[in-house]
């Protein structure tokens, strides 16, 4: 098969051999039956050439498995459609100039870790002076008025603050995703905004290590930023989005 084929599969050591690695635990006592159970479990996923290469007794009736197998399904790379943030990445200086030249006023952003989330490091990385990975945070930008409300902020309080400061954008960080708590929390946030007729007042930006742009859109946000986001990427997005809104309104 050719390398530039559009139909791809996993690659172990031969093009499209489909080789993948799995590990999981089954609630079954270690033994030949357990090994067979692992094989059946994998075969129900449509896997082929299943090799249970390791079994470990975790006691209390649990067994851990490492498996190699062939996943004989294809991805058509021509048909991958993924929403992307439509903003050109600019530098600190470019962004400030852009806002000065095109929007001609300061932008205001309000950010928080909402609900019971107390992981402030990610939000701080975007908002605080210090910034992240060599990039200044939004507080440092002369063209941004930045309000960082910190951790465990109730949705209502955040909205109140955004209204009060006449914010252009609301930034939410969600790190804890256990039992999909973030989905619940974020859905509620958008519902309140909509109920109050405020949804279109703000650009809604979501961030966190388990957040994708896709998910953010699904939840009714305008953009989502994941692991490794740098402040200038967020600032680029917000300023271009505000300008776009401004253009549309004129």
């Amino acid at each position: 098969m050719l390398k530039d084929d559009k139909l791809i599969k996993a690659y172990g050591d031969t093009y499209n051999d489909g080789k993948i690695q799995l590990s999981f635990t089954l609630p079954i006592q270690k033994g030949v039956e357990a090994e067979e159970a692992a094989r059946i479990y994998c075969s129900k996923l449509g896997l082929k050439d299943i090799e249970v290469v390791h079994m470990k007794d975790l006691r209390e009736g649990f067994t851990f498995f490492v498996v190699y197998a062939v996943a004989d399904v294809l991805v058509n790379t021509d048909k991958i459609n993924v929403a992307k943030i439509e903003a050109e990445e600019m530098s600190y200086y470019e962004i400030n100039d852009y806002i000065k030249d095109k929007i001609e006023r300061n932008l205001t952003v309000v950010g928080a870790c909402t609900g019971s989330d107390a992981h402030t490091v990610g939000l701080d990385a975007i908002l605080n002076m210090k910034g992240y990975d060599g990039e200044y945070g939004l507080e440092r930008y002369p063209q941004f008025n930045t309000y960082n409300m910190g951790s465990q902020v109730p949705n209502e309080k955040l909205i109140e603050k955004a209204v009060q400061e006449n914010a252009d954008a609301i930034l939410i960080s969600q790190v804890v995703t256990q039992k999909n708590i973030h989905v619940k929390n974020l859905t509620e946030f958008v519902e309140i905004l909509e109920a109050e007729g405020l949804r279109d007042e703000f650009i809604l930006v979501l961030g966190g290590p388990r957040i994708s742009h896709e998910l953010a859109l699904e939840l009714g946000f305008d953009a989502g930023f994941g692991t490794g986001t740098k402040p200038n990427q967020v600032a680029s997005y917000i300023s271009q989005k505000v300008y776009e809104k401004f253009e549309n309104n004129n």
Partner: protein
């Protein structure tokens, strides 16, 4: 323990002098005040348990009544003791009657202070004897089912459901874990009471309740016996109910407690005075119950940089040590915390980790140091994560650490799966076994990077402790001396629970514990 670093003992001594001054300041604050939680703890130690018809724990109900009446400054012991004498009810019955408003503590005849004191002091002695039995039981079990060699393998369970936790804990214990910590539902620190009964719906962890303590203790005792290996149980003695949890732990024979002098202030924005008073009494209970405390210096490094702020960890350990010793904790009970959190992409970062770990080891030779794993630089690459945990284990066995909180390869992804924990135990056992004697085999070069780094951290520590002792700890905290976090001196949660003691105040347990722990007038 091998002395591998040539440290300036004079500098270490002056660190302890500064810390002693710091502790003197705090001591004064502590001695003048009590808190609602301390008073609730007295009730718990006397035997009060259960909740009222609204689900509010009886200790809260009773203390609140006295507090509302503005009479807590005398101490709950007087009021409750007086009522016991007057009503002739048992401790628990009296508590229940009070909650049902059948007895009004403030509106019954008041006996002489002295008489009540004597009565309640004897009752306290009796209750304390019950705790001592737990200590003896632990010693007996530890003798019969000896725990493994140090570093001990410490794992967490965090399902939110005590019954699910039990499965995971037993599985881990049978695989060789020495210590199981039940992670607490997030921000239980902020609850100004202790939830009641077995619980199955915690968030990111399971509520610390007396029933949950008991369920897990029983499960681990069963495994200890079957595997011939005593498994220690840990929970969080932190937050607004700190001393109450100490009492519950003493009663249910927990073996270790996360218990830090400043964690609540820094990481939960709890009022300073409240925290210092609470930690004092809670530690005294832990001391008496033979519990090893785990301090929380690792938390500093989740926000601050581990290279730049290394000295704040050591400074905080000195403070935790001094405040701890003043509550009667023995050096062997001071599980001072630190962590392997330097950015591993820095060249020779491992050498800096070794420097820090060995420094702490030598400064606190008798402390059962608790070493926390890499978390900050863990990402979704579970294979690299497993390796980092391995390096952490190497650092530990190279520097004679005592309590090893095992890192999880999925740290950046989810709370531990059963298999993650199993892999971590395997990792630690592999490294510890294959390099068991490593720390005894090596010495560090006199003018090497490790030695220099340790010297530097120690010097910076002395400087910062001097600064704190000059300024006072509370003021320093308000200026953000630790973990980059600033806390207002009189702000924070729970300040309304701080009560100035009247001259008649007494707390029989403090007296009993002071006697038994042989704490002298200066609090040492």
């Amino acid at each position: 323990m091998a002395l591998k670093l040539d440290l300036d003992q004079q500098l270490i001594d002056s660190c302890r002098e500064y810390t002693s001054e710091i502790a003197d300041e705090i001591g004064k604050k502590i001695s003048k005040n009590t808190t609602t939680s301390v008073e609730r703890t007295v009730l718990r130690l006397l035997g009060v348990d259960g909740v009222d018809q609204h689900g509010i724990p009886l200790p809260n109900v009773i203390v609140e009544k006295v507090k509302e009446a503005g009479e807590l400054e005398k101490g709950i012991s007087y009021w409750f003791g007086n009522a016991l004498l007057e009503t002739d009810l048992s401790v628990q019955s009296l508590a229940e009657e009070i909650s049902k408003d059948n007895v009004d503590l403030l509106n019954i005849p008041r006996r002489d202070q002295k008489e009540v004191y004597n009565y309640i002091y004897n009752l306290a002695k009796e209750k304390a004897a019950g705790i001592k039995e737990n200590v003896e039981k632990r010693n007996e079990l530890m003798g019969k089912y000896p725990p493994g060699p140090q570093p001990w393998l410490y794992v967490i369970v965090a399902t939110g459901n005590i019954y699910e936790d039990v499965k995971q804990a037993k599985s881990a214990a049978r695989q060789g874990a020495d210590i199981v910590a039940v992670i607490r539902s997030t921000a239980q620190s902020l609850l100004d009471y202790v939830p009641y009964g077995p619980t199955t719906e915690g968030f990111g962890g399971t509520y610390a309740t007396q029933a949950n303590f008991k369920i897990m203790r029983d499960a681990l005792d069963e495994v200890s016996k079957e595997e011939g290996h005593y498994v220690q149980l840990v929970n969080y003695c932190s937050g607004l109910a700190m001393p109450e949890i100490a009492a519950m732990g003493a009663i249910e024979r927990l073996d270790m407690m996360l218990n830090d002098a400043m964690y609540g202030i820094l990481f939960r924005d709890i009022n300073m005075k409240r925290t210092f008073v609470d930690q004092y009494f809670s530690r005294m209970i832990n001391a008496y119950a033979g519990v090893i405390i785990n301090t929380g210096e690792d938390n500093y490094l989740t926000t601050a940089d581990a290279v730049e702020e290394a000295h704040t960890v050591l400074a905080s350990q000195f403070i935790n040590e001094e405040l701890g010793l003043r509550t009667g904790l023995k050096k062997e009970q001071l599980g001072l915390g630190h962590a392997f959190e330097i950015n591993p992409d820095i060249e020779d970062s491992f050498l800096m980790e070794i420097a820090q770990a060995q420094l702490v080891r030598q400064v606190f030779p008798d402390a059962p140091l608790k070493y926390m794993p890499p978390t900050k630089y863990m990402d979704g690459d579970i294979f690299k994560g497993h390796l980092m945990d391995g390096m952490f284990n190497v650092a530990s066995i190279m520097t004679d650490q005592s309590i090893q909180l095992l890192g999880m390869l999925t740290e950046a992804i989810h709370t531990p799966f059963l298999q993650d924990r199993a892999l971590s135990i395997e990792n630690a056992k592999h490294v510890f076994n294959s390099a068991r004697a490593l720390s005894h085999e090596i010495t560090f070069k006199a003018d090497g990077k490790i030695q220099k780094r340790a010297d530097q951290v120690l010097e910076e520590t002395a400087e910062i402790l001097k600064e704190i002792s000059d300024k006072g700890l509370m003021k320093s905290l308000s200026e953000g001396i630790f973990g980059d976090i600033k806390r207002p001196m009189s702000g924070g949660k729970g300040s309304d629970g701080v009560v100035k003691k009247s001259s008649e105040y007494f707390n029989p347990f403090i007296d009993v514990f002071k006697e038994e722990l042989k704490i002298d007038a200066e609090g040492r």
